[in-house]
């Protein structure tokens, strides 16, 4: 009896150390943990590397003149800036917003308030999800086919491209925001005798407003940095223009053109423009994030 009492604990001891967590299993775990840490490090390092260079190069070349002068420097000359590109960019963005915001928000109202579960709602959602994945450059080709072939390169055609680009983002984010509004609020409003129009306008939309605005900001931020659809819609303009139906300069297109020509001055403008773009887009993401944080609280 004393023999078995001595043996038993020894066996159990061996079992726990050897079998429960065998060295191989342990080392595999450690290696995999290191690998997952490494992937995080790569992500963080590449982000910081880009931010560092754009910040460093951009800040050296940015100044009041560059931001306010309204014509690009001629090749070989130093005088000039991209004030007109900022204005052109805003025109294109504003057109895209004017086209996509009303459409996106009201279509989302239908999906979440009136058409829930209908075949149409399903089809709209499906086509919007697919449209989100359509490359931005194809939005540009579409705007070229619809607008530019008839009336030439213009800020408006760039706006059409951005409208198509932004519509699915606006629609989906608005729908999600509306679905978060409690059904009780709708019932309370309807119970007091409001129509569906009044309920939507005075109760549901205001309640969802912060989340909707977040979606709108993200849609704008997504479009603000896009160069591809503008290459053959808004095209380019070396000079000041506020003509909605004429070609305008934009920052992303400027960064593209000036990064692939061999002139120092233009390359410096490209870096300064990249910094402006990056700062704008990052600020927009921060604001959107702040709004989300505030509404969750």
């Amino acid at each position: 009896m004393s023999d078995s009492a001595q043996l038993a604990p020894e066996k159990v001891d061996i079992d726990i150390t050897r079998a429960a967590i065998a060295p191989v299993r342990n080392y595999t775990g450690i290696v995999l943990t290191l690998l997952s840490g490494l992937s995080v490090a790569v992500i963080i390092a590449s982000l910081s590397w880009v931010l560092w260079d754009v910040g460093k190069e951009g800040i050296q070349r940015i100044n009041w003149d560059v931001l306010t002068q309204t014509r690009y420097p001629a090749p070989g000359l130093a005088e000039g800036g991209f004030g007109h590109a900022i204005v052109g960019n805003l025109m294109v963005l504003a057109t895209g917003a004017a086209l996509s915001f009303p459409f996106g928000i009201l279509a989302a109202v239908y999906l979440s308030e009136f058409g829930r579960g209908t075949r149409l709602a399903y089809l709209v959602k499906f086509s919007c999800n697919v449209l989100t994945g359509v490359p931005a450059i194809l939005c540009g080709l579409f705007a070229y086919a619809v607008v530019v072939r008839g009336s030439g390169f213009s800020a408006f055609s760039g706006g059409v491209a951005f409208g198509v680009l932004m519509l699915p983002i606006v629609l989906r984010s608005t729908e999600e925001a509306l679905l978060l509004v409690s059904p009780d609020m709708r019932l309370a409003s309807l119970g007091l005798g409001s129509t569906r129009f009044q309920t939507t306008m005075r109760v549901v939309l205001p309640a969802a407003a912060p989340a909707i605005v977040t979606g709108l900001i993200l849609a704008l931020a997504r479009a603000a940095g896009e160069a591809a659809p503008l290459l053959f819609t808004a095209f380019n303009n070396n000079f000041w223009s506020t003509d909605l139906f004429g070609p305008v300069a934009t920052l992303p297109v400027m960064v593209y053109f000036f990064s692939i020509i061999p002139y120092r001055v233009q390359q410096q403008l490209a870096w300064a423009g990249a910094l402006v773009l990056l700062a704008t887009v990052l600020a927009a993401s921060l604001i959107a994030r702040f709004l989300v944080y505030k509404t969750r609280k």
Partner: protein
């Protein structure tokens, strides 16, 4: 539900003052008009996708008629003679996207696991999650600029060393690399698309029932055994659809390809040599294209659209299936 709750369609009460009735009928008209307006706009939003497809195809028709399917398998792109074929660009788009996925899949899944599986406290993972979101926000043209002036000079010596020692491998061979190449495009694309994989994989892991993980741990599996044998298989459809979406994004990304591929119209087996993608071709040539050339570029756009639509629809179907399983 709503119409029943508010009693639309009930007959007007004859005892009610006429004034009120007028007001009521006006607000009812506004109400019905509003619902119809939203219905019309929703319908329009649904049609946009089809409109985009039809318009682009229509603009590509002259080239489609002239070159037919031969466009897809010939390698000449000669605006002077008006002869066009996009095989090198199709090759370049597929190769850069697939190599980008080879970088992005381990990076994305590794980071997603790190963020969800409690390897670090929240004050570490929260800023990392934020950094991942910031990568999505960086405009691709800025990444292209950075690639030209910072990344290419930095990797050129590394490329040359690899080319000298491992040049016998076809993918790494050819003359001494100068930098612009399909490989550099793939590297930048890999960084750009990993956030898609990270965010979807992350939410997939978070949506899996806790009991799955707890069960595996209780049976004595280590943390990684739980991940590899339970969590990843259970979340596989979410992970696969995130990879499909990332692939679609990589196929459609334009500026990085236009700025870093070298825009060479030929098929190079070596990844370190210049190449071209469909998007890069369209971006770099559209500005000064003639009539038939515009149509040929539109045709290239249609090819790109078919590729990305296929990828996105497959991803969408996987996601739907996954949601149905959850419910």
């Amino acid at each position: 539900m709503t119409s029943a709750a508010t009693g639309y369609g009930s007959p007007p009460n004859p005892d009610i003052d006429v004034d009120i009735e007028k007001k009521a009928s006006l607000s009812r008209a506004v109400d019905v008009g509003f619902v119809r307006l939203t219905l019309a706009l929703a319908g329009f939003a649904g049609i946009i996708l089809i409109w985009v497809i039809l318009q682009t195809t229509e603009a590509a028709l002259p080239a489609i008629q002239q070159f037919g399917l031969g466009f897809l398998v010939t390698t000449r792109w000669n605006p002077v003679e008006n002869i066009y074929g996009v095989l090198p660009q199709i090759y370049g788009s597929l190769v850069t996207s697939l190599v980008a996925l080879i970088f992005a899949i381990p990076l994305g899944i590794g980071t997603a696991i790190f963020l969800t599986e409690g390897f670090a406290p929240k004050w570490v993972t929260a800023p990392i999650g934020f950094a991942v979101e910031l990568i999505v926000a960086i405009p691709s043209v800025v990444l292209g600029l950075w690639g030209i002036f910072v990344l290419i000079p930095a990797v050129r010596p590394i490329f040359r060393a690899i080319n000298q020692t491992l040049g016998w491998i076809p993918f790494l061979g050819g003359p001494a690399p100068r930098g612009p190449s399909l490989l550099i495009v793939a590297v930048v694309l890999g960084i750009m698309i990993s956030p898609i994989i990270i965010s979807i994989t992350r939410s997939t892991f978070e949506s899996l029932p806790r009991s799955l993980k707890e069960g595996a741990l209780a049976l004595g599996a280590t943390r990684w055994e739980t991940l590899l044998t339970v969590m990843i298989p259970a979340g596989l459809s979410g992970i696969v659809s995130s990879i499909m979406l990332a692939l679609g994004r990589a196929l459609g990304e334009t500026m990085v390809a236009a700025m870093l591929s070298g825009n060479a119209n030929r098929i190079n087996i070596s990844l370190m040599q210049p190449g071209s993608t469909i998007t890069g071709l369209i971006a770099s040539q559209f500005g000064e294209a003639g009539r038939l050339q515009v149509s040929a570029l539109m045709y290239a756009g249609v090819v790109l659209m078919v590729l990305t639509l296929l990828v996105n629809i497959v991803a969408e179907i996987i996601i739907r299936k996954f949601q149905n399983l959850e419910q």
